[in-house]
């Protein structure tokens, strides 16, 4: 351990800690004083190239960079003196002299390192009156990322990421001096499963996400932390949303689960939360009839008589995509011995790519198993379910369907099996083309998506992660527990949720993927 003084306050740090690590603290809350920086990232090696994180160390005539200087016992550090401020101001100045004035059209505006530092140093007048260096703009780097070389400040974070984290080595910095540019060689794509992390770590708008490009200004977005429901790793993420829906997902640091990163598949989970993917209203169909819409609470209440009548003939099919609390309420209120665990691609469940992606594409398989065990439930063989449906032994089937159907490749087959039930209750947050086509006595009840409820997911390693509700997108959706309660005949009142952040009254077709697709355009490799 070493004791040092930072801006007058005494701080104790572990041996080998650099000044910037000491200032950022374990929680990266910079309580000892903020240091401007671009190239340093706690999850990557030290580059020391932006030269912005200047600090003054007593006894040293020159300012030093904080990211590569190790704290020694008794070191006195400050970054508030005029000398440091001047060095940092000029460091910023050099970054800006060739930087294009793209703010009006740049996605990064509002969360841009250059903007933030510029505002902090007093909005001075730039002194560069020569022609700026011209580089490639709108470079199609791959299926998910766009590059604008003029905006790039060559911090090398993205290159270090592809070298050290994804280990795919697509990116490099080519050419010398102020003609240096980030890029791939000969049109090779930046196309590994973690490409979008480079967009997160890029401090400026050089790397932007094709998916998010031009969709929202970030100051119109609210954010909330939650846990990704893409697979059993359970990366901690932040979702961004406003009245128009949810727009993007970014990782949140968790040293035990996902470090600073998340995979590209997880970036898409917000699409299943937005209205265009959702089951918005409850629907009922009887044999020979059409779909009839109703209020979900009413539908569930109506079902209570059917459930009661089923008696022993009631079966539950559950998937590992709901929270522990919902499973508890489900098994407490709908008592049956016939419980079946719908597992998708079980042969892949132990797959792990070495970084974050796991083959079990359910966030809460372990939680489901634990709750079932607690209730003394042993899930039955799927063959028994099929036989039971065939024979009529199982009269009423309630399916807690997956939120993300895309990772259930067998869904079409299973749904055709479920059709054999005399009464099928399909509980799902997302709409299902397959179920819409079925005939028979079918109810569809909209469920809340994972961002619309508080809950707990247990990941592959047994780590239970609690998350809070972020917002409401479909106000009438129920969570699994409420649905179970209502179907069991409990007399509870369910009021539609309201959310100041999502306009529930706005009809879904006003904000559709098609509408948004109008903003997308075909990218060609940029020419000078």
């Amino acid at each position: 351990m070493a004791k040092c003084t930072i801006n007058g306050k005494e701080v104790e740090v572990k041996d080998g800690t650099t000044i910037i690590q000491a200032m950022s603290g374990e929680k990266q809350d910079w309580q000892h004083g903020k240091v401007a920086h671009y190239c340093w990232h706690p999850g990557l090696s030290v580059a020391g190239v932006c030269r912005l994180c200047m600090v003054e160390i007593e006894g040293n005539p020159r300012v030093q960079i904080a990211c590569n200087t190790v704290v020694t016992e008794g070191m006195k550090i400050n970054n508030t003196s005029e000398k440091v401020k001047d060095a940092a101001k000029w460091g910023l100045d050099f970054h800006l002299i060739n930087h294009p004035l793209d703010c009006p059209i740049c996605d990064q505006a509002g969360e841009c390192g250059l903007q933030d530092q510029y505002m902090e140093f007093g909005k001075y007048t730039p002194e560069m009156s020569e022609k700026k260096v011209k580089k490639h703009k709108v470079v199609d780097l791959g299926p998910t990322v766009v590059l604008d070389s003029e905006r790039c400040i060559l911090c090398s974070r993205c290159v270090r990421f592809t070298e050290e984290v994804s280990k795919t080595n697509e990116l490099g910095i080519f050419n010398r001096g102020d003609h240096s540019e980030i890029g791939t060689h000969a049109g090779m794509e930046l196309n590994n499963k973690y490409s979008l992390n480079t967009v997160d770590i890029c401090p400026v708008g050089a790397l932007t996400s094709k998916d998010f490009r031009f969709k929202q200004r970030v100051w119109y977005l609210k954010d909330a932390e939650t846990v990704c429901n893409g697979c059993s790793t359970g990366c901690n993420v932040k979702v961004y949303f406003n009245k128009e829906g949810m727009f993007r997902v970014k990782p949140v640091f968790n040293k035990d689960v996902n470090s600073y990163w998340m995979c590209d598949d997880g970036r898409d989970i917000y699409k299943f939360v937005n209205k265009e993917s959702r089951l918005l209203k409850a629907k009922k169909k009887t044999t020979g009839g059409n779909w009839e819409e109703m209020f979900p609470g009413a539908a569930a209440k109506e079902l209570s008589s059917t459930v009661k009548a089923a008696g022993d003939g009631l079966a539950l099919v559950v998937t590992g995509q709901y929270t522990n609390e919902e499973y508890e309420a489900l098994f407490t209120n709908l008592k049956t011995k016939k419980v079946f665990h719908w597992v998708n691609s079980p042969e892949k469940h132990n797959d792990f790519d070495g970084l974050l992606i796991r083959g079990d594409k359910n966030p809460n398989t372990k939680g489901l198993q634990a709750v079932m065990q607690k209730h003394g439930i042993t899930p039955g063989n799927w063959a028994d379910l099929v036989a039971g449906l065939q024979s009529g032994n199982i009269k009423t089937l309630i399916v807690a369907a997956p939120e993300i159907a895309a990772v259930y490749p067998d869904i079409k087959h299973r749904v055709s099996e479920f059709e054999k039930a005399h009464n099928l209750v399909w509980l799902s947050s997302t709409k299902s083309v397959e179920v819409d086509l079925l005939t028979g006595n079918i109810w569809q009840i909209p469920m809340k998506s994972f961002v619309e409820k508080d809950g707990t997911f247990v990941n592959h390693g047994g780590l239970a992660q609690k998350f809070k509700k972020a917002t409401t997108v479909v106000s009438e959706a129920l969570n699994l527990g409420e649905a179970a309660l209502l179907m069991s005949g409990a007399q509870i009142m369910v009021k539609p949720e309201t959310s100041p952040f999502v306009e529930t009254a706005r009809p879904a077709d006003r904000v559709t993927l098609e509408n948004r697709k109008k903003n997308e355009f075909v990218f060609k490799r940029g020419t000078l």
Binding site: T162, N169, E170, L171, G172, I173, F174, N175, R176, T184, H185, A186, M188, R525, T527
Partner: protein, 168 residues
């Protein structure tokens, strides 16, 4: 050096058997195989009309088992690796201070005029490319030029042209 255009036509490049053998021996010559990149680029450049194309990088990446991005970084960093074809004789005239105050600018202009070629372009007969380069470490014999691997020093406009015309 010359900026490459995006739509460069280049056929699939392959090193000769001899070239491949040389590259393979460089791979084990140094403590780390990455050190073989510079020697390999020289070998490839000599077999590819004096320049390195995308196809060359891809080929080297395959036979050396080194990511393309790493080889491309080294290639584009150094002045002596050409991004566009050059004439059979690459006439590199030094233009830094000592040569500059000893008549280098006039010499370069003279050569370009006599050979009827612009800087960094190739003469019509494919024989010469004239470039202005930085200090070649021959300041005491200024002005001077490097043609491929050979230094020609203490030049005058006449002696320089005589040398060039004399090259087969």
């Amino acid at each position: 050096m010359i900026k490459v255009t995006e739509n460069q036509q280049s056929a699939q490049f392959q090193l000769s058997a001899e070239g491949t053998a040389k590259v393979k021996s460089e791979l084990t010559r140094y403590e780390d195989k990455m050190s073989a990149i510079i020697p390999a680029l020289y070998i490839a450049q000599n077999e590819n009309r004096g320049y390195i194309s995308e196809s060359v990088i891809k080929h080297l990446s395959q036979i050396m088992d080194i990511p393309e991005s790493r080889i491309n970084e080294v290639f584009k960093f150094y002045t002596m690796f050409n991004q566009k074809p050059v004439g059979r004789y690459h006439v590199q005239v030094c233009g830094t201070l000592s040569c500059h105050i000893n008549g280098a600018p006039d010499l370069i202009d003279h050569l370009c005029k006599e050979l009827k070629v612009k800087k960094d372009q190739i003469t019509e007969d494919g024989k010469y490319t004239v470039s202005r380069v930085e200090c070649l470490g021959s300041c005491g014999t200024a002005p001077m030029m490097q043609v491929n691997e050979v230094y020609y020093e203490n030049l005058t406009k006449e002696s320089a042209m005589n040398i060039l015309r004399g090259l087969k």
